[in-house]
């Protein structure tokens, strides 16, 4: 039984949805950020797989740049969390409710 591109795409979507559930479910911002990493990783698998099955390098390039983007997001995200934490002592997003309506 050969593994086809479909297998990889389904795997990627399952992982992506796990990430989505994490994004919706998490209240602790740090752990919410974990979930966003999962989203990008799921996509990366799919890119590498497509790249492999059609024999084209662009997919790997995309995955490569996605990794770079993920790394930059971590830096900014943690920076924001640090200032927020310094101010409030919490990183629970339910505490962020000064603006509404």
């Amino acid at each position: 039984m050969a593994i086809t591109l479909t297998h990889y795409l389904v795997l990627a979507s399952v992982l992506f949805v796990i990430g989505l559930i994490g994004v919706m479910r998490r209240k602790n911002l740090l752990m919410l950020f974990f979930a966003t990493e999962i989203l990008l990783n799921a996509t990366n698998i799919a890119f590498a797989a497509i790249s492999h099955y059609i024999g084209d390098l662009s997919g790997q390039m995309f995955a490569f740049f996605i990794i770079a983007i993920a790394a930059s997001e971590v830096a900014i995200g943690l920076g924001l969390l640090i200032v927020w934490y310094k101010r409030t002592g919490k990183i629970d997003l339910d505490q962020m409710n000064s603006m509404r309506g």
């Binding site: 591109l5 795409l9 990627a12 992506f16 990430g19 994004v23 911002l29 919410l32 950020f33 966003t36 989203l39 990008l40 799921a42 996509t43 799919a46 890119f47 497509i50 059609i54 084209d56 662009s58 997919g59 390039m61 995309f62 740049f65 996605i66 770079a68 983007i69 930059s72 997001e73 900014i76 995200g77 920076g79 924001l80 969390l81 200032v83 927020w84 101010r87 409030t88 997003l93 962020m96 000064s98 603006m99 509404r100 309506g101």
Partner: protein
Amino acid sequence: MLEPIHVALGSLNIATLAPMLIAIVGALSILIIDLAKGGLHKSLYVMIALLFLLLDLGALVDFGGVFLKNGTILGFFDVMLMDGIAILSQIIIVVGSMLFIPLALTSKRFHEYDYPEYFALFMFMIAGFQFMVATDNLIMIFIGLETASLALYTLIALHNRSKSFEAAVKYFTMGALAAGFYAFGSMILYAISGSVEINQIATIMAEDHYRNIGYVLLSMAFMIAAFGFKLSMVPFHTWTPDVYEGSSAALAGYMSIVPKIAAFVVAMRLFEFLVHSGVAWLQVILYIGVVVTMTASNIWALVQSDVKRMLAYSSISHAGFVMAAILIGTTQSNTGLFLYWALFSFTNLGAFTMLWVNRQKNLIAGQSSDHPYEKFSGMVKTMPMAAVMMGLFMLSLAGIPPFGLFWGKMYLIGSAVSSGYTVLALIMALNSAIAGYYYLKLIVFMFMKEPIVGYDQYYFMNASLSLKTIIGIAAVGTIFAVFAVNPLLKVITLFVYNSGY
């Protein structure tokens, strides 16, 4: 072994990088100047930024001339794409930035302007947006978008108060989710076409006669979600009011103009070929999206008690209005998009600058936001000129002739009618009428209510000569737009038409 690749330098068209490089060099030189000598006044950095943006603009105008003579310019293995809409949108981006950067010259000191890095990040952000519009490579779009967004999150947070952190974190988190959507959507496009360049994707899809329609639609679902976030389409709009409220009015105004035009250009590249190929699903979705966004945000704007939040919802509504241009997808409507946005820039610049000059440092006692309506009540008695200015911007936003936005609205509605979207045109007109109410509400407060004692001390407390100048420019732009509309239209049509949109 791989054969070494020989690339002729001339074929690279290095010049296509010039505008963005100028912005990046500007950013770096700000950082270097800070390294060499710290503690310089912010006005120096503003001037440097303006200088480089001016160079940037010059390069763009030069490109405009080349484009009109030789057509689209490709560079760097076709990664860079300088077509008409890229040049036009970059001009809007750069001019918009030039108008908003001087807002740093406030008379009160705010935290972010104490950082030279603020100005450096601002320039990096501009470069990011420029890269984003000047390519049709999905990778490049993504990186440009992220460069700009990451800088923007930082700029918001640098305002340094709880609300701005909250805004930045909310924006960042939702942005990360949207980035996930974008990556996934691009992945599907890549899967069915083997390419990450929009024009090739379009060609391959057409050659396949859209056989993988499921994949196409799913990718569009993800892409609409991603750009819906950037363009604040309902229901991806929820960040907008909070982020506008949390950031300084100067930055909020900036956010309502520049990132959106960049996103609009990408949306044009990405969606319009599908609309033209008669993918009914996309037409229906965009139709619903446009109508819901315009209507819902107008209704929410009515119930706001803070002017900045009201303007946030109003800018959502304007974005929805302009999104209709992408749905219609004719040269006329695309021209209308740029015209509308150019006019909108001036009006919104004025409106947000008016908020910015009236910004007090701490919240007014008994109020929970910076610019409650009450703050402006009876303004006409204490500062008639300011009230008239604000009223002018509100009237323009409401689309009352002969002020700026009326022409944009009329042209877009006209393009809808002439493409047979009569019902859409009616809905657009109706929404403009509803919108009149909440703009009028502020006018009612300013002109017809009694002033609240002690509030006049907040008026223009943040003003400086440069800020007043900016208001003046915005007012002139809004009032005399009548005379600019026709020449502007001619130029825009030339650019848009020659880029094939």
